[in-house]
C-alpha cells in the first residue's frame, strides 16, 4: 500500500513499548479497508489504541467512508446521519449525558500542525487518541516521519516513565498533565526541545515552573476547541494572549469580546459548523483585558477544569440534593495546586439521619459522574452559609 501524502513513512509508533513502522500499519489498514468498503458509509472503531486509529484513518480515507472513533462512554448513537465520503467523527468529552459528535475533515484536523519538519523528533502522546488534541499530535508525528511514544490509559506517572525511557523531545499536554508530570519526573527529565500546553488555560505559575525546569526550551500554549478547531498559539511564556490580537487578529483568526465572552471567527471551524452571524463562534470562555493582555478567567457556564476535565459544581450538587437523607448541600469548586480546581461538598444531613448512611448516600448519588466531577471531600455541616441576597455562597475562582 502506498502511504497517503499526510504520512512520512519514516514514522514509528512505540505503544506500550512495542514499536511499529509504516509497513505494519499499512497491513492493518489494508485489512480494515476491506471491512470498511463492505460497510454502509460509516466505519465505527474503538479509538483507544493509536495503531488502530492510524490504520483506520488510512483505511477510511481509501474506502471513502466516514470514520467514527468510539471512546469509553461515548457511543455513536443510531440514526446519526453518515457523511458523504471521508471525514472523521469525534465524540466530545462530556462528564454526563450524551456526548456531542463533531465532524471534521482531515484537512481541517491538519490545519495548524507544528513541528512537521522534524523527523528526528520523539513525541509523547498525553491525550486520548480519539480526541481532537490527540489526533493533532498523532497527525503531526505522522507528517514529520517522527517517533510517537504512547501508552493510552496510563496516568502521568506511567507517561513520565515512558518519556524518560524513550528520551522524548516534544510533549503537548494539558496544564494539569504538566503539573502531574513535573511531580512524577523529579530530576530525571527527558531531553525536551519543545513544550506545548493546551486544553485549558495555562496559568503563569505553571509557565514559570516549566521555564525553570526546562531552561531555554521553547514553551507555547495553544488555544483550540473541538468546535472551532485550532485557533492560535502563544509563545512568549506569559499567560493569556496579547490584547493587540483583538484588533489585528492572529493567523487568520479574528477575535472579539462580547459580554465578557471570547468570540472567534476562524477559517478552521468544524464542518457544517454552528457559527452564528458572520461566522462568529461563542467560545464560552470568560476573559478580561488586563493591560496589554487578555486573560482567561473561567467558563461562562460555571464549569471548572479539574485535572483537564470540565466539571459542573451545580450538576453534582443537584444529584446530592436528590438524596433523601440530605437536607441541603453546597458543592464548591476550590483552587488546587495539582488539578487546577477540585470539587468539595458541604452536606446538611436530614434530621436524625445516621452520618454514615448520609455519606454513603452522597457517594452513591455522584457515583455516575466521572471521578473528576465528583466532590472529592464531603463535610457534614449543620447549615449552609447564605450570602446577603439569600443565595448559597458558591466559591468559584478562576
Amino acid at each position: 500500500m502506498t502511504a497517503p501524502p499526510w504520512i512520512d513513512t519514516r514514522f514509528r509508533l512505540t505503544e506500550y513499548g512495542e514499536t511499529l513502522g509504516w509497513p505494519s500499519l499499512a497491513l492493518r489498514a489494508g485489512a480494515l479497508e476491506q471491512a470498511f468498503r463492505a460497510g454502509h458509509g460509516r466505519a465505527v472503531i474503538d479509538g483507544n489504541r493509536v495503531a488502530t486509529v492510524i490504520a483506520a484513518l488510512v483505511a477510511a480515507e481509501r474506502a471513502g467512508v466516514e470514520l467514527a472513533l468510539r471512546r469509553p462512554g461515548a457511543e455513536v448513537p443510531d440514526g446519526f446521519p453518515a457523511a458523504d465520503g471521508f471525514s472523521v467523527l469525534l465524540p466530545t468529552s462530556g462528564t454526563t449525558g450524551t456526548p456531542k459528535l463533531i465532524r471534521h475533515g482531515l484537512d481541517r484536523l491538519r490545519g495548524r500542525l507544528r513541528g512537521t519538519g522534524d523527523h528526528g523528533a520523539r513525541w509523547l502522546l498525553t491525550y486520548e487518541p480519539a480526541s481532537f488534541a490527540g489526533l493533532q499530535v498523532i497527525l503531526t508525528a505522522l507528517a514529520a516521519g517522527a517517533e510517537l511514544v504512547a501508552a493510552p490509559g496510563e496516568g502521568a506517572a506511567g507517561l513520565a516513565r515512558a518519556a524518560v525511557a524513550a528520551g522524548v523531545t516534544r510533549i503537548s499536554g494539558t496544564p494539569s498533565f504538566w503539573r502531574a508530570f513535573l511531580m512524577a519526573v523529579g530530576d530525571r527529565r527527558p531531553p525536551l526541545a519543545s513544550i506545548t500546553l493546551g486544553g485549558e488555560a495555562a496559568d503563569q505559575p505553571l509557565l514559570d515552573r516549566l521555564a525553570a525546569a526546562f531552561p531555554g526550551v521553547p514553551l507555547r500554549h495553544v488555544y483550540a476547541s473541538t468546535e472551532a478547531g485550532s485557533l492560535f498559539a502563544v509563545a512568549d511564556g506569559r499567560a493569556g494572549f496579547p490584547a493587540a490580537w483583538l484588533d489585528d487578529g492572529i493567523d487568520g483568526v479574528r477575535l472579539r469580546i462580547a459580554d465578557g465572552i471570547l468570540q472567534v471567527n476562524s477559517p478552521r471551524a468544524m464542518l457544517g459548523g454552528v457559527a452564528g452571524k458572520g461566522g462568529w463562534l461563542d467560545t464560552g470562555d470568560r476573559v478580561v483585558v488586563s493591560g496589554d493582555r487578555v486573560l482567561f478567567v473561567g467558563r461562562a457556564d460555571g464549569r471548572v477544569n479539574v485535572g483537564g476535565v470540565k466539571v459542573s459544581a451545580e450538576e453534582a450538587e443537584a444529584l446530592i440534593l436528590a438524596c433523601p437523607l440530605v437536607a441541603d448541600a453546597l458543592v464548591a469548586a476550590v483552587p488546587n495546586p495539582i488539578t487546577g480546581h477540585i470539587l468539595t461538598a458541604a452536606v446538611v444531613p436530614a434530621a436524625g439521619a445516621d452520618p454514615g448512611l448520609v455519606r454513603a448516600g452522597v457517594r452513591d448519588a455522584v457515583a455516575g459522574l466521572v471521578p473528576a466531577a465528583r466532590p472529592r471531600v464531603v463535610t457534614l455541616v449543620e447549615s449552609i452559609p447564605l450570602d446577603s441576597t439569600g443565595k448559597k455562597r458558591r466559591r468559584v475562582e478562576p
Binding site: A156, A157, A180, L182, A184, G186, G307, P337, T339, V377
Partner: protein, 84 residues
C-alpha cells in the same frame, strides 16, 4: 506540628483515599514519591489529600503559589513550615 506528625497525617489520609477506591496503600517512607508509580493513587487523589490536609491543619502552604514537592517528606516539610 513537626514533620513526623504531618507524615502520620499523610499516611492516615492517603490510606483512607486509597481505601475509598478499593486499593491498599503500602507503607510510606519519607522518601516515597507520590506520583512516581509506586502508590495506587493518581493526581486527583493527591489533589484530594491536599484539601484534607488543609482542613486538618488549618494551613495551606500553596496559597502564595505552587511549591515543588515530590516526596512524602517534602510535602510534610511544607505543612510543618506553614504551621511554624
Amino acid at each position: 506540628m513537626d514533620t513526623a506528625a504531618v507524615r502520620a497525617m499523610i499516611a492516615e489520609e492517603l490510606a483512607r483515599i486509597a481505601a475509598d477506591k478499593g486499593e491498599t496503600l503500602p507503607p510510606l517512607d519519607p522518601g516515597t514519591v507520590f506520583l512516581g508509580g509506586g502508590l495506587p493513587i493518581d493526581s486527583l487523589d493527591l489533589a484530594t489529600l491536599l484539601v484534607v490536609l488543609e482542613q486538618r491543619t488549618g494551613f495551606d502552604p500553596f496559597r502564595a503559589g505552587f511549591r515543588q514537592f515530590t516526596t512524602v517528606e517534602e510535602l510534610a516539610t511544607l505543612y510543618a513550615a506553614a504551621a511554624a
